[in-house]
């Protein structure tokens, strides 16, 4: 004791100072190690503790019809996953999960015992099931938020809309075509969390939903088209059918129906053949409906006039050793009659007047042989050979709609061009896009080219109204409205024999209404109707029913008295052919 008291204060202070300096040195060294040497590793570890990437459900855009009726929506739905390596008791875990998810225990057990580091137990479960799984708090089992696509109208416009898979990626139809617009922003965000893992505040940019789409289709018109087409396919025992309703002035597809249809919610259990959008994937020989293009070429080039006369050769004409027949014998007939009664002999004679090169240029000008450019995936371009590859029979065959294949969409686009006064308009299924910021971007009609003059279009309209008023298309006549259109019945090629089948046909009707100011272009195609079937008997009545209900719905007043109105006649003197 005496020794310590004996130590002078300065010395004690010095000792203390040295000790403090040593301690400070140790702290400094430690600080250097932590802050400088181990900075990166520790920083990362710290970030991992207070920062977390939070997954969020994919917010795919909603799809509406042209009047804002919801067709497709995404709702939050969690998916159950497991890390098998972290599961403590696979048997007990599987039993408890199976009870909640209503799945076989064995199936879950197999997944939990797998060698995989990660397995999905069940994707997109109901909110109640997700809640129940969360309450179980099973080690190694977790939930991840996902979006589930719902199609509340079931099979309505299924071929047009398409569907998205479990990963919320568009697989077919508009869901695929507009994948980029529909998909939202990042599916996770970085957040600062507390010790219990609760979010304190978000650090990274918010996720944003995808854009909403407004389609050109109208739910009511689509429903009518589907209902009438289905009924016709059932009635005629046909293999399939297609109906398209389009606004000829803008190219907007108001309805696109294929029969048989399918439910996009259950796409996995549907055959791909049912899911195919036949309206644009399947090319057909258009048969007599193609006389429309022949007539347009002949009238535009002033090679024939509506009242020019053609001799029907009593129903048969021989071209290069092949006999082309009419289904009725005709004597002298006007060009109007050729079209109204769909005379093959008359058409062959008109085709010869038009000639190979000229006819080919009109065919391609009307958009055959190339895709229409519709905003839907999987479009077929159809087939039309160049004139240098034509045989001696080709010109005649093409005049009656053979040796060419075209999709239903190409056919209605061509008819739409006549209806709107001569402009080929690109068909489209998207009307507008509403972006996440609320701005709305509308699509615009696109005129591809002028194919015929307005005068030719008017003349052709008067001829096509006669098809309905007194010709093969009388089944399409609609009291109170003038209808213009063309029937077609094309034999199908039998792939086994390599010849045209005597029993398998495709029945068409394609036209527009009201003829004087067309609001609707409608195509009806019935594939392989049973029994004696013609475009005029199988497809034309479907056109009539769709047109009638649609015009009522659009409140389009009748333009004529219910009695049929005779077509106008060209007063010019006839020429004989």
């Amino acid at each position: 004791m005496t020794a310590s008291f004996a130590t002078p204060p300065r010395a004690r202070i010095a000792v203390l100072a040295v000790l403090l300096a040593a301690l400070l040195g140790v702290v400094g060294a430690r600080l250097y190690v932590i802050q400088i040497i181990r900075h990166e590793r520790l920083g990362t570890r710290a970030e991992g503790q207070y920062e977390r990437r939070i997954p969020v459900a994919a917010k795919r855009g909603t799809i509406y019809d042209r009047r804002g009726r919801m067709l497709v929506i995404t709702l939050d739905a969690a998916s159950v996953f497991a890390h098998p390596g972290l599961v403590q008791d696979p048997s007990a875990t599987a039993t408890r999960l199976a009870r909640v998810l209503r799945l076989p225990v064995r199936e879950i057990q197999a997944k939990l015992r797998s060698d995989q580091p990660f397995v999905w137990i069940q994707r997109q479960v109901d909110p109640e099931q997700a809640e129940a799984v969360s309450r179980l708090s099973l080690p190694g089992v977790g939930l991840v938020p996902e979006g589930k696509r719902y199609y509340p109208k079931k099979d309505l416009a299924a071929h047009l809309i398409g569907f998205a898979g479990v990963d919320n990626r568009g697989l077919e139809g508009l869901e695929l075509a507009y994948e980029r617009l529909l998909t939202g922003g990042p599916r996770s965000f970085v957040s600062r969390v507390d010790a219990r893992g609760r979010i304190v505040f978000r650090e990274s940019k918010e996720t944003h939903p995808g854009a909403d789409l407004y389609l050109t289709i109208d739910e009511v018109i689509q429903h009518v088209a589907e209902r009438e087409l289905d009924a016709a396919v059932r009635r005629s025992g046909a293999r399939a059918g297609t109906a398209i309703v389009m606004d000829p002035a803008t190219g907007e597809i108001l309805a696109l129906a294929n029969s048989p249809a399918y439910n996009p919610s259950a796409y996995a259990s549907t055959s791909p053949a049912f899911r195919r959008n036949r309206a644009l994937t399947d090319p057909y020989e258009p048969g007599s409906a193609f006389k429309l293009v022949l007539a347009a070429a002949a009238l535009e080039e002033r090679l024939v006039r509506p009242d020019d006369l053609f001799y029907g050769e009593e129903g048969t004409i021989e071209v290069g050793g092949v006999k082309i027949r009419d289904h009725e014998k005709h004597g002298w007939m006007t060009f109007r009659d050729v079209m109204a009664f769909s005379s093959n002999v008359g058409a062959v004679k008109v085709g010869m007047k038009v000639g190979k090169e000229r006819f080919y240029s009109y065919i391609t000008s009307f958009g055959f042989g190339v895709p229409t450019g519709v905003d839907l995936p999987g479009e077929n371009h159809g087939v039309i050979r160049r004139p240098r590859h034509w045989s001696h029979l080709s010109l005649s065959a093409l005049s009656i709609g053979h040796e060419i294949s075209a999709t239903a969409l190409q056919m209605i686009s061509a008819m739409g061009a006549v209806a709107n006064g001569g402009s080929l308009i690109r068909p489209r299924a998207l009307l507008a896009v509403r972006h996440p910021d609320g701005s709305v971007e509308e699509t615009k009609p696109l005129a591809v080219r002028r194919v015929i003059s307005p005068e030719t279009a008017r003349t052709l309209t008067s001829i096509l109204t006669e098809v309905v008023e007194r010709g093969t298309g009388q089944g399409a006549a609609l009291p109170g409205h003038r209808v213009a259109g063309k029937t077609g019945t094309a034999q199908k090629l039998d792939h086994e024999t390599g010849r045209y089948s005597p029993t398998k046909v495709v029945a068409f009707f394609v036209g527009y209404v009201p003829a004087e100011d067309p609001r609707l272009a409608i195509l009806v195609l019935v594939d392989e109707p049973q029994g004696i079937a013609w475009g005029g008997t199988v497809a034309a009545p479907v056109f009539r029913e769709i047109a009638r209900e649609t015009l009522n719905y659009l409140a389009s007043p009748p333009t004529t008295s219910p009695e049929r109105v005779a077509g106008r006649r060209d007063e010019a003197s006839p020429r004989f052919n």
Partner: protein
């Protein structure tokens, strides 16, 4: 020999009690200044801590509201989806025909009225 007395050393060697008594009598302006600086710093620190606590508290509050908003949005979407399903024309038409015995209007039964 008497020890040499220096003013500086006298102050240093005063016992603690004496210094405290002197301090009671009044702080030097220098000490006051130091005290104010310390006070301001302490207040700043307190403000910083309070602010931080507020941020955390508001963060929790925002997240609670966000969760409530998300839940309500989801509920709204579910209801809209259900409405869309119930308004499905196929369903409505079937109901109208089967349950209510309705039929399509025949030609002539529809009268278009022009708006005045």
């Amino acid at each position: 020999m008497a020890p040499e007395v220096r003013s500086g050393s006298i102050q240093q060697e005063l016992p603690f009690g004496v210094r405290a008594r002197r301090a009671k009598r009044g702080l030097s302006p220098e000490s006051k200044q130091k005290l104010i600086v310390c006070g301001v710093l302490l207040l700043g620190l307190l403000f910083y801590v309070w602010q931080h606590i507020q941020v955390v508290r508001l963060g929790y509050q925002i997240e609670r509201h966000r969760a409530a908003q998300a839940s309500l949005t989801q509920e709204g979407k579910t209801l809209r989806m259900e409405l869309s399903r119930l308004r499905s024309l196929k369903r409505v038409e079937e109901f109208a025909r089967r349950e209510l015995g309705m039929v399509n209007p025949r030609p002539g039964q529809i009268i278009q009225i022009e708006e005045p």
